[in-house]
């Protein structure tokens, strides 16, 4: 590990500002031209349960979180108690000296099982069952302890802001912990200042107070003359960069990709996306051409709509009463011409199965953004898993075509969020964009998105009634794709039904028509496989000629990439196939890239290795090893690396279960 690769963790009870602290820290580093990767862990709770954030910083791109921790920033007992154990020997712990005497018994949110575990450890070391005991244990490992008297500094601040609410002042501990941390690693204050300015843009008073608090904390640490071996140096890149999380990346892709309608029902970790979209429901348009859609403009107000050029556009967000309604409304909107989507997670997706089938049967382009989280059932609602793949592929009774596309990181997620609408409209079928909690709640610095890469294709959507007589919505065609019109298109009508139907869209139980319709619909999947470019089917990373091949999909990508960088240095030639088009499965192409390897390893974040099984079924190839994880915490690159090393050593069992993380 390079020294410049630095991992900072901040923790605290939910609702106490941990996220803001992490954001300040990460942005400071990012403004300092470093790469940042941030991962958030939290309970299904609003206030009081423990949450924490790891921010990894490096001059090189970081794609994942790691198991190491160089500096732990805490401002109450629980964080110190939970995380001190994991600080690296040379690392440090920033803590509030006020809490050292806190008895572990008296930390209510600690689970009984965690408590018992701690008692055992401390008793074995004959240390007191208090924060102090825990810190002592760390110190014994070579960890530096940095007692930081938050209350004193808050008091000091209060003197300058006597009229400020005590609660608001208390919140300053977040900023202080960040400032203190940055001073410990000798990172220039100017970037923190910039970060605060950015985060508190428009809130002058708060900005000022935070800068001051930061300065005080920074100065306090300077005065201590503490010795800490980790240093963080600003980078030098002149790359144009953004810092976003998964929900934001997806939202941005949707807006750019022409999504005009999103329905949703609140659910973790999907709904932040919809809230973001609603906040940005109005945005400017460019390059709007005079169009053939005059007929639909407000008939009562024709003048006003003569040219929408230079006007604002919008994306309408609808909060529905449940997810059944969410997919139904999105489908209805798609029928009326909207690029329509809905976003949800597993429990909500369960309720969409029937609607999905209707859209598949009626060939409606509707996008479902599915953020997987820990299942089954309510499961681990705020934790991570990739357990919904086979459900996404087979949800809904009977057989109908759909596309399942997965993105591996925040870069892909953006472009894919636009791409899925093209796929939906070109192939006239529902598209499930399969994401997950790790993606939703990770932040990353990325090159500024290349907006010119996004192109919109609406497939066989006609803006006007076809001039030929007898428009048939489900006309049999060679490709299986029938020209589509919007509800309301003048001079035309059509019918849809969930029943099997004639080309006109009327109910039909005729067996011959049935066979043809079924084949028309299902054969569109062949077209998908034929037309979708290879880069959207899978990426080949690592060593393209490696004789060891790893197959994975979705967010393990980051951890695998980093692990492979190390393995390459260690002389291993490993090819990494990151699958993106999961359904229909490009079995032939996958077979070609997987077959030559002497060792095949599948990696995914679920219990049974769902994708590996699917690929085996369709390619006939077996995997020598399956690395899985299902404890709700994303894979760190270290544990992937360790598992791979073990496999390469020839000593590993066939199935490897990763179990790290808190």
């Amino acid at each position: 590990m390079k020294r410049s690769d630095f991992a900072w963790v901040v923790g605290g009870p939910q609702g106490s500002g941990v996220d803001s602290a992490a954001n300040l820290f990460a942005k400071a580093a990012a403004f300092g031209r470093l790469h940042v990767f941030g991962k958030r862990e939290y309970y299904s709770n609003i206030m009081g349960e423990h949450s924490y954030f790891q921010v990894r910083v490096s001059e090189n791109p970081v794609y994942s979180h790691g198991d190491m921790m160089h500096l732990l920033a805490s401002f109450e007992a629980e964080t110190a108690i939970r995380h001190s154990w994991d600080v690296l020997p040379d690392g440090g712990i920033l803590y509030d000296p006020k809490v050292v005497d806190t008895n572990i018994e008296r930390v209510p949110a600690l689970e009984p099982e965690v408590r018992t575990h701690l008692f055992k450890r401390l008793n074995a070391m004959s240390l007191p069952l208090t924060v102090e005991g825990v810190l002592k244990a760390a110190e014994a490992d070579g960890v530096c302890l940095f007692p930081f008297p938050y209350d004193d500094l808050v008091e000091e601040l209060k003197r300058e802001y006597p009229d400020t609410d005590a609660k608001v002042l208390k919140r300053m501990v977040n900023t202080m912990s960040v400032a203190a941390s940055l001073r410990l690693v000798a990172f220039p204050f100017e970037f923190l200042e910039k970060s605060i300015q950015d985060v508190f843009k428009g809130k002058t008073k708060a900005m000022k107070m935070n800068i001051q608090a930061a300065q005080m904390a920074y100065d306090f640490v300077s005065e201590q003359g503490w010795d800490f071996s980790c240093h963080l140096t600003p980078g030098t890149t002149d790359e144009k960069r953004i810092y976003v999380n998964g929900n934001q990346a997806v939202s941005l892709g949707k807006i750019l990709g022409g999504c005009t309608f999103q329905s949703y029902y609140p659910i973790t970790p999907a709904s932040d996306e919809s809230v973001f979209l609603e906040e940005h429901e109005n945005f400017p348009l460019t390059g709007v051409q005079e169009e053939a859609l005059k007929w639909v403009r407000n008939p009562g107000n024709p003048g006003k709509s003569a040219s929408p050029n230079g006007r604002m556009g919008s994306l309408l967000v609808l909060q529905t009463e449940d997810e059944i309604a969410a997919i139904a409304a999105a489908t209805g909107a798609a029928l009326a011409g909207a690029r329509a989507a809905t976003a949800t997670s597993g429990p909500g997706f369960c309720l969409m199965a029937e609607g999905l089938g209707w859209a598949g049967n009626s060939e409606v382009p509707v996008v479902v953004t599915l953020y997987q989280r820990g299942g089954p059932s309510t499961g681990l609602p705020t934790r991570h898993e990739q357990g919904d793949l086979l459900f996404a592929i087979f949800a809904g009774h009977g057989e109908f075509p759909r596309i399942v596309l997965s993105s591996g990181d925040l870069e892909e997620a953006f472009y894919d969020s636009a791409l899925v609408f093209n796929l939906a409209e070109k192939y006239q079928m529902p598209v499930i964009h399969l994401l997950d909690k790790a993606l939703a709640n990770s932040n990353q610095t990325l090159p500024y998105y290349d907006l010119s890469r996004v192109r919109i294709e609406r497939g066989a959507l006609l803006n006007e009634a076809p001039s030929a007589n007898g428009y048939q919505r489900f006309q049999f065609t060679e490709s299986g794709i029938s020209p589509r019109i919007r509800l309301g298109t003048p001079g035309c009508i059509f019918y849809n039904t969930g029943d099997e139907h004639t080309p006109e869209g009327h109910i039909s139980e005729d067996p011959e028509n049935r066979d043809r319709m079924m084949e028309k619909r299902m054969k569109k999947l062949d077209l998908v496989l034929k037309e979708i470019p290879s880069k959207d089917k899978f990426h080949i990373l690592g060593d393209p000629d490696g004789d060891i091949v790893i197959l994975s999909w979705g967010t393990p990508k980051g951890a695998i990439r980093e692990a492979l960088e190390v393995l390459r240095e260690e002389g291993h030639r490993v090819k990494f196939v990151q699958s993106r088009l999961l359904w229909p499965l490009p079995a032939q192409e996958l077979k070609e890239v997987l077959e030559p390897a002497r060792l095949r390893i599948a990696i995914e974040q679920n219990y049974s290795g769902q994708f590996a099984g699917l690929v085996s079924q369709h390619t006939g190839l077996r995997f020598d090893h399956l690395i899985v994880k299902y404890n709700g915490r994303p894979m760190s690159f270290n544990e992937v690396l360790d598992a791979l090393r073990h496999i390469l050593s020839g000593k590993s069992s066939k199935k490897v279960v990763l179990r790290r993380g808190h």
Binding site: Q248, V288, M312, A333, T445, Y449, L487
Partner: protein
């Protein structure tokens, strides 16, 4: 290609075989709908009919407009999506009582909260027709239709009261064998700016031998022929409002001996959902989601996200 010239009421029919049972009340509703559309001079393509699943759910196939036959109980959310995507469409939802008040009750309630400008026609026959006559949510407790092995064990819901509690701004009851009257109700419902319910008493001769044509015939009376006034306007005073509400509830509940048909409630004080959106999204009515150009002819996106994206810039 559908033409817009010389439309006659029968031009609103399709040549799909109407496969309802002889004597089914659904026929009267269909005829009323054909006539209402004709009298309102609606062009076929200006109208979209959404339906659920059931005997009633087949309606759109019999009407010469856009027709979307959705899922059991889900017609309202489908219709909501389409209407929001293009608020200039005339959207009519048609479904069964089981569809709308049983499996679909949650959508019924929550659609009421929006007051979208759409019309909802319920075929209230007291049974699940297409699945062979099980009790629907409007069947009274203790009633044993010929299709039931035992008397109905559940109580009924009152669709009109439910509509009121959910926020519907137009609440009417029709009777499928009084076509002229029902046609007028449908016209008013379609013209009402807001969410309109027309609950139609619809005899199902095949399964419901209790609430038959004869049974209803003795009971229904037209509210328009009384001095009942359903309208609430911004000028209606608090006391007057209470009075209206009280009489609405009594008329909605009356059943055993007399059943009122007509408009029972018409609230003109509530803005539509479309209006509420338009106040947040100024371009909404001009360039609604179904229509707004999303790209130029080369496929270049029209949405300019640079200012949003810039807010995430760090270098």
């Amino acid at each position: 290609m559908v033409t817009d010239t010389l439309l006659k009421p029968r031009d609103y029919k399709t040549d799909v075989f109407v496969d309802w049972c002889p004597g089914c009340g659904d026929f009267g509703i269909l005829t009323s709908l054909h006539q209402a559309l004709w009298e309102l001079k609606k062009k076929p393509w200006e109208v979209v009919i959404f339906s659920g699943i059931g005997c009633s759910g087949k309606t759109p196939h019999y009407v010469n407009t856009y027709g979307i036959h959705t899922l059991h109980g889900r017609l309202l959310p489908f219709a909501t999506g389409a209407k929001l995507a293009n608020p200039h469409l005339t959207v009519i939802a048609v479904g069964g009582d089981g569809d709308g008040l049983g499996i679909g009750a949650g959508h019924f309630v929550n659609a009421g909260r929006r007051n979208l400008n759409l019309t909802y026609i319920i075929h209230d026959n007291g049974v699940y027709g297409l699945t062979k006559g099980q009790a629907s949510p409007t069947l009274k407790k203790g009633v044993k239709t010929k299709s039931l092995p035992k008397p109905n064990i559940q109580m009924n819901v009152n669709p009109l009261l439910m509509a009121y509690s959910s926020g519907f701004t137009f609440i009417a009851r029709g009777y499928s064998y009084d076509v002229p009257h029902l046609k007028e109700l449908l016209k008013q419902a379609i013209q009402h700016k807001g969410f309109a319910l027309v609950n139609v008493l619809q005899p199902c001769p095949t399964y419901n031998d209790i609430n038959t044509r004869e049974w209803f015939g003795e009971r229904v009376f037209r509210l328009e022929e009384t001095d009942y006034d359903p309208v609430v306007t911004p000028d209606t005073g608090e006391d007057e409002l209470k009075k209206r509400r009280g009489q609405f509830i009594e008329k909605a509940l009356e059943w055993e001996t007399r059943i009122a048909i007509g408009v029972l409630w018409k609230d003109l004080t509530v803005e539509t959902y479309e209006e509420r959106i338009a106040s947040r999204i100024p371009t909404y009515l001009d360039a609604p989601p179904g229509i707004r150009p999303v790209c130029d002819p080369d496929g270049k996106p029209t949405a300019d996200i640079r200012s949003i994206l810039d807010s995430f810039r760090v270098t």
